[in-house]
Structures are given as structure tokens and as C-alpha cells.
Symmetry: C2
Subunit: 166 residues, 2 copies
DNA sequence: AACAACATATTCGAGCTCTGATATCATGCG
DNA sequence: CGCATGATATCAGAGCTCGAATATGTTGTT
């Protein structure tokens, strides 16, 4: 048997005994703060994606970079940063790990002396294709319970949150 | 003047010249993958929250932990992990930083020898209150452009994504 | 030509998050 | 009692993310 978690019976303030809510209840459910719900959903999806890609040795951020370089070969580090809403330093770490693992290659820009242009290697192409299938499977389940109108509303909201200016 | 980004004129494969999409266009807009849009929105909100809380020396994850401990005093590290969908090690890092900064205090559980119960310190209470106001302001803008029905759909979807089982 | 302004890349330090492994405590069973 | 099981805490290592600072390259102005 399982004891009902020691902290469920608090000895401190009597009236504040924590009746811990289950996932989907109280602040964690549909009544919670929108920002909190957004973070929760994002954490859950990231976790699922990490598990789905774990045996391919690719992390979710790496998958995003691979996808972008696959779609726009010749991208620079700075281009990737703008495209992903991340900082150049962040992209630099991810790109570094992908170059070390052999999925990405870079060569200097023929005109501009400082820019390094990125492209997928052979193994990078294959890896991206394998990841793509796993992620697409997850993706399909995301829209499962939504009507067309609801999905449109969700998409519109997500874009508006992403683009809201400071 | 600003040159239109060197990588916009690729010398490599001619037909693959990257016409980089603006934020809100192409895959980044409402036609993109739901998972990608969710990540983008989450990144954007996290960034805004980081900026809003920066001068209070509190990070978004720290704010989440402070809020939870404020709502349920006596929580343990493991309780927090379950509540936040994070791993105990992760929560341990955040709690460690909050204890070091003096916002959280912990005492051993009176019955169970290993559990450490958490509570807000005086400064923790004040800090949480200040953060609360900033975050509430951000929060209100999240639901700004949504009708009641749309907001309900968004909330329902976020919860379903967060709770979807593997 | 010299300079200012800007973009790009990189380094450093900090915080967040995970997997995996280890140690301690509590409970239940032989 | 002794041991297995499970919960808790913690350590080690890896990757992601940021702000700040530095160095280098490009462009436009003087």
C-alpha cells in the first residue's frame, strides 16, 4: 500500500493543511492563469518530445535547428537566432553540439568574412527525416480533440502571444 | 541604411536561396505546426516574464515555486516536483537558489526524518507580492483579444495538452 | 583614409532542466 | 528482527537559455 504522502497531514498551521490538487484541478485546470497553463502545456510537450527523440540522440531544440537549416540551407548562426526567437549564444551552443555530432557542417561565407553558413550533412539529413516522423506523430495528436474553429482560435492566440510586443 | 542580410543572397544552390520569413509568416504564422507555435508562444512569454521580474531578482521558475509554497505552506521538495511537472532535481536547484537568496526557509518534518518542509520568509512574502503584481499585468494582456468562447477553447486545449498521457 | 555605426561570432558566468546514480528514511513482510 | 520496497533528498554530468562583454568584419560618413 501507499501512504497518502506525509505532507498531506501538516503539523504546522492547522487551517492551512495542504490539500494538494491533482493535475487538472484547481489552479492547474481550466480555471488557472493562462500563463501558467501555457507553461504547463509547453513543459509537457517538451517532455514528450524529448522522450520521442531520445534514442535518436536529438533534443527538441536540436530538432528545431535541423528543421530550419533543412528548410533554408545557407543560414547563419544569427539568422537562426532571429528565426527561432533565441539569442545567438543559445543557437551557438546547439549548433556546436550538432556539429560535434556530425549532423551539421559549416563553411565560411564566400563574400562576408565572418559569417559561417550552415548545412545538413548526410547523416544530418537522415537523422532529421527519422525525427520528423516521430514528431509528426506527436503533432497529429495535438489537434485531435479540436474542431476546426477551435483550432483556428488556438492558432491565432498562440501567434498573438508569440508576437506581442514588450 | 541596413543591408538586407548577407545570407539572403546565397551563392550556393541557386534555387535554394533562403527567403527568410518574417515572424508571423510562413511556418511561423498560423499555418505552422501546433507544437512549434506552442513553443514559440512559451518562449515569448518566458522572455517577457524574465524582463518583468529581472529587477526583483526573481526568475520565472522561482516565481512559480514561490507561488506554490505561498499557496500550500509545508510543501516538500517532492511535492513541488509533482505539482510543477518537473523533476525533483530541478526543483532542488530552484529551491536551493531561493534559500540562498533568503526568500524560502525549510525545517525538517516533525514526523518524517528526511522530508524538509518549505515556507516563505518575510522577504519571500514581500517579494512574491511584488512579483504577483507584475505577472498579473502580463497575464491580463494574454486574454485581451479573445472572446469568452475562444478563451474557453484555448484553456481546454492547454489543459488537454498538459495532461495527455504518453 | 579614418572613423563611427552596426552585424557577426565567441567567451564567461549564471540559472534551468533532464538522466542516472547514490544515500537515507519509512513501511511492510518473512 | 532483518530485509525488500518505495519515497525522499542529493550528487554528477549533460544540454539549453540568457545577459554581459569582447573581438572581428562590413558599411557609410567625414
Amino acid at each position: 500500500m501507499r501512504k497518502p504522502s506525509p505532507s498531506s497531514c501538516l503539523p504546522g498551521p492547522p487551517s492551512l493543511a495542504p490539500q494538494l490538487p491533482e493535475p487538472g484541478e484547481a489552479k492547474r485546470g481550466e480555471q488557472g492563469h493562462l500563463g501558467y497553463l501555457l507553461r504547463q502545456a509547453s513543459v509537457a510537450l517538451r517532455t514528450r518530445m524529448e522522450r520521442a527523440l531520445a534514442d535518436l540522440e536529438v533534443t527538441p531544440p536540436q530538432f528545431v535547428v535541423l528543421t530550419m537549416v533543412g528548410a533554408y540551407p545557407g543560414l547563419s548562426n544569427a539568422d537562426l537566432a532571429r528565426l527561432s526567437l533565441l539569442k545567438p549564444q543559445t543557437v551557438s551552443v546547439i549548433v556546436g553540439n550538432l556539429k560535434r555530432s556530425g549532423a551539421l557542417v559549416s563553411r565560411p561565407h564566400p563574400v562576408h568574412g565572418r559569417i559561417r553558413q550552415l548545412a545538413l550533412s548526410e547523416t544530418g539529413e537522415r537523422s532529421l527525416a527519422r525525427c520528423r516522423r516521430r514528431v509528426d506523430a506527436l503533432e497529429r495528436r495535438l489537434a485531435a480533440g479540436l474542431s476546426a474553429a477551435e483550432e483556428a482560435a488556438v492558432r491565432r492566440w498562440l501567434v498573438s502571444v508569440a508576437l506581442e510586443s514588450d
